[in-house]
């Protein structure tokens, strides 16, 4: 580790020690591109900015592994990979130019390709974490297969800083597909969900689906031969500018996300085969598994409808950012509290961001 990075980690350790002793709450915040996500930060806190801790530490394309510091801009990581025709498989949203790698891991959000490639945690191979005891812990490693000890590094994906400050992350990366094509089909909502699920269960190189306003878009990614034959089989109308479509959905710059008449944008994570939920204007991704809904319906009603189809609801963009995440079953909530008490006994890191008692 270069002296500057080393020195920065030591200064963070000192800050954590002091914060724990004085019960000072620390808001872990780099570029702030995901400030809108999660419960609103508490009024009294200090900001801990990990951006000075940045840079790619190790990247060997032939090992399919990249290790970088959490303050590294996400765009820098993606550029390094693109030079070797590789990419992050989960297509993380940036939500702004200031997005960092650490913020992407901590928020756990994934883009259209997650449908077939898997969530962020599937690609986390190792991580170092600064916990509430000011210890730097090192989990996992830089190899593909590693079952030594509990997989704490993977559980940091989506942890929203509740367990500590993510320092270094090692990720499995994948080759970019040789070619991509997006086809569109006119289908009503229920038919689109069924069709997307049927196709996903066949040996077709589908990497994303999205349904909006009676049109199902299907992205094919893979070898030239594979995409060509799948395209011939599925038919449909090719999209003129597929990159604009998928980036617009990933970054929520698409017109669908621009409504702002005081409604809440819900992210519903449900059984991909669940029928239409009729809660409001909808955009459906991941076969049917991720549904974006603008709605003025009460949180209680949204949550109960979603629970009935085996899922959970997040108030993704909303006015009063309180209890945005789906409540946990009591036994799970208890394990969450115990984990928090073990890793951050003074409750200094991002208190309340995920749940009020974490």
């Amino acid at each position: 580790m270069p002296a500057a990075a080393n020195e920065f980690v030591r200064s963070l350790q000192e800050r954590v020690r002091t914060a724990a002793a004085t019960r000072t709450q620390l808001l872990i915040r780099a570029g702030g591109s995901k400030d809108f996500y999660g419960n609103a930060a508490r009024a009294l806190h200090d900001v801990l900015d990990p951006r000075p801790y940045c840079g790619v530490i190790d990247y060997e394309p032939t090992e399919l592994v990249i290790t970088a510091r959490s303050g590294t801009p996400l765009s820098e990581v993606e550029c390094s990979l693109a030079k070797h025709n590789q990419m992050l498989a989960f297509e993380p949203p940036h939500f702004g130019a200031s997005a960092t790698l650490g913020g992407s891991i901590a928020s756990g959000l994934a883009g259209p390709r997650r449908m077939t490639t898997g969530p962020i945690r599937d690609f986390v191979l190792g991580a170092t974490l600064l916990d509430g005891h000011a210890n730097v812990l090192s989990f996992g490693g830089k190899v593909m297969k590693n079952v030594a000890g509990y997989d704490v590094s993977r559980s940091l994906a989506g942890s929203l800083g509740t367990l500590g400050v993510i320092l270094d992350v090692s990720l499995k990366v994948v080759p970019r597909p040789a070619t991509e094509q997006t086809m569109q089909f006119d289908l009503p909502e229920a038919d689109a969900i069924e069709r997307a699920n049927q196709w996903a269960g066949q040996p077709l190189p589908i990497s994303a689906t999205a349904w909006l306003d009676g049109v199902l878009s299907v992205r094919l990614s893979g070898s030239n031969a594979g995409v060509r034959t799948a395209q011939a089989r599925l038919g449909g109308t090719p999209v003129a500018d597929p990159a604009a479509l998928w980036i617009g959905l990933r970054e929520q710059t698409h017109a669908f996300f621009q409504d702002t008449d005081d409604a809440t944008l819900w992210r519903l994570s449900v059984l991909p085969t669940a029928p239409p939920l009729n809660l409001g204007a909808s955009l459906i991704e991941w076969r049917g598994g991720q549904r974006w809904v603008w709605s003025n319906v009460s949180a209680a009603e949204v949550r109960s409808k979603v629970e009935a189809v085996g899922g959970h609801a997040t108030a993704f963009r909303c006015r009063d950012r309180d209890n945005v995440f789906h409540p946990l079953a009591p036994t799970l909530a208890q394990i969450h509290r115990r984990l928090k008490n073990e890793f951050d006994p003074a409750h200094i890191f991002n208190p309340g961001r995920m749940y009020f008692d974490l």
Binding site: D122, V152, G201, P203, G310, F325, A329, M354
Partner: protein, 512 residues
């Protein structure tokens, strides 16, 4: 499966010098009390305690270590599992969950003051959802049975550990098992969506979800590969994949193991993700060829098998690409399977590698380190030096795609000195794996076998945080205690220290 066939007790094993938790004689008084408490709700045939009944459970696939359990419980319902957990919680009795007992690291080694909880009666597939491509299964369902049950739908369950005809999905979850197709299709972690289980307090919990994610912290990641130490699995939802239309394999020979390793890197650099990429060194090829007549090149220093799957068109394109890359990277011989029979024949040797060792050596000890692929040549050379040092032969099979090396150390269990040398040989390989930036276990788990090497792979603060995770799920520490995570006093007694940044602290010192 594939276990070292150690028949005789070997007195010099490390675990006997630093005793493991829960070893020793059975406390008959306590046994009587716990049996009585369990028989309140368990039928007679579900509680075993006489030695002749509990003896078959004394070890798992790592037969070097044996311990008689105080009691074996064979529950038939989730409610019975929960009640067993509550009784054990009240009476402070350890529980060791067990599936088929094929594990290779002693994760299901019984506890002498505990209940061995066998889940073999949980052997039903509860639901198959064709449209969602999922199956809900009980933990005692065999890995291969899932694929067999959904084959007619054109689906399969991807992880294929070599013991797949016998091992259970509950055990796969406990070990986060892999197989030969991990590079493209992932480990158990990537193919299980949801786990339902019983906590140490006897509560039912569900981690993960049949939806794409679940709220809160990702506890499924912690449970996967937790070796029965966080909860007792009673049900799981697994992901099913569409069966590829076509599969073909390229077999390549190399006159140098380093060149073979470079060719593997070149395939990856070319942007190819093969369905499987397996390597065998010369001793492994020499051992298996007479056993299976796969047509392997006996003059090669290493043999590489690279499989492509997909549609006919995809496979044709990829196979041509793979051949071209291997040719420019020094393959001395190339063959492409021209039929399903030929493809199976190419694979037969690799799949029979472990049993083939049994033909040329009385016993073998299978190691499981994962290393960065680029260090392969160097690691194989070091292993060759160790063969001389310990006076034992070693053949190497390698999941080349993901860097998971399985050295097979050949020894004789009837010779205590040979057993001790085999163990030390194995430990030196594990320590070398850590030193080159890898891990002591890629897919077999830590169990009791590699508990001491954990002292070297992780620093004391990280080991303590593993105990913290354990306490969050299991505050009294009753689920499979004494496995996987060594106490700091055990590490001190073992006398090995954490390897910092891939560098041994005193590289000049002999490591045994």
């Amino acid at each position: 499966m594939n276990a070292p066939l150690l028949q005789r007790h070997a007195p010099q094993l490390l675990a006997e010098r630093i005793p493991l938790e829960g070893t020793g004689a059975i406390d008959v008084e306590r046994q009587r009390a716990v049996v009585a408490a369990l028989k309140v709700f368990l039928p007679e045939h579900c509680v075993l305690w006489r030695e002749e009944d509990t003896r078959p459970f004394e070890c798992d696939g790592l037969t070097m270590y044996r311990q008689l359990p105080m009691i074996v419980a064979l529950p038939e319902t989730e409610d019975q599992v929960a009640r067993i957990a509550r009784v054990c919680f009240q009476m402070q009795v350890p529980i060791v969950p067990r599936g088929a007992g094929t594990g290779l690291s002693g994760g299901a080694l019984p506890h002498g003051r505990g209940v061995l909880l066998s889940l073999t009666k949980f052997n039903r597939i509860l639901k198959i959802d064709r449209l969602a491509c999922t199956a809900v299964v009980q933990p005692g369902v065999r890995n291969l049975a899932i694929s067999e049950a959904v084959s007619h739908l054109g689906l399969y369950y991807a992880p294929d550990p070599s013991s797949q005809i016998a091992c259970t999905i509950g055990g796969n979850i406990a070990e986060n098992s892999g197989g030969v197709h991990c590079l493209k299709y992932g480990l158990t972690l990537h193919n299980v969506l949801r786990v339902r289980g019983v906590t140490v307090e006897g509560e039912i919990i569900e981690v993960g979800s049949e939806a794409f994610d679940s709220p809160g912290l990702d506890l499924l990641s912690l449970v996967m590969g937790s070796e029965g130490m966080l909860l007792i699995t009673t049900e799981a939802t697994v992901k099913l994949l569409p069966k590829p239309i076509c599969q073909q394999v390229v077999m390549a020979s190399f006159d140098d193991v380093g060149k073979g390793g470079d060719a593997v890197a070149a395939v990856i650099a070319a942007g190819i993700t093969p369905a499987g990429m397996e390597m065998m060194d010369r001793p492994a090829v020499a051992a298996v060829e007479p056993f299976v007549n796969a047509g392997y090149d006996l003059n090669a220093e290493s043999i590489l098998l690279v499989e492509s799957d997909g549609t006919r068109e995809e496979v044709d394109e990829e196979i041509a690409h793979i051949e071209a890359v291997l040719k420019t990277n020094g393959a001395t011989r190339l063959e492409v399977s021209q039929s399903e029979a030929e493809r199976h024949r190419f694979w037969a040797g690799r799949k029979a590698a472990f049993p083939a060792m049994g033909r040329i050596s009385p016993d073998y000890y299978c190691m499981d380190g994962t290393i960065p692929r680029k260090r392969l040549g160097e690691v194989l050379k070091a292993i060759a030096t160790m063969e001389v040092k310990y006076g034992l032969r070693c053949a190497n099979v390698f999941h080349a795609g993901d860097g998971n090396l399985h050295p097979l150390i050949m020894f004789d269990c009837n010779n205590p000195d040979s057993v001790m040398r085999a163990e030390r040989f194995g430990f030196e390989i594990l320590e070398l794996s850590i030193a080159v930036g890898g891990t002591v276990t890629g897919e077999h788990g830590v169990g009791v076998e590699k508990i001491h090497q954990m002292c070297q792979q992780f620093d004391p603060a990280t080991l303590e945080s593993f105990f913290a995770v354990k306490r969050a799920f299991d505050p009294p520490g009753l689920l499979n205690p004494g496995k996987v995570v060594p106490t700091l006093s055990r590490c001190a007694e073992y006398g090995k220290m954490h390897v910092h940044g891939g560098q041994l602290k005193f590289p000049e010192l002999p490591r045994f």
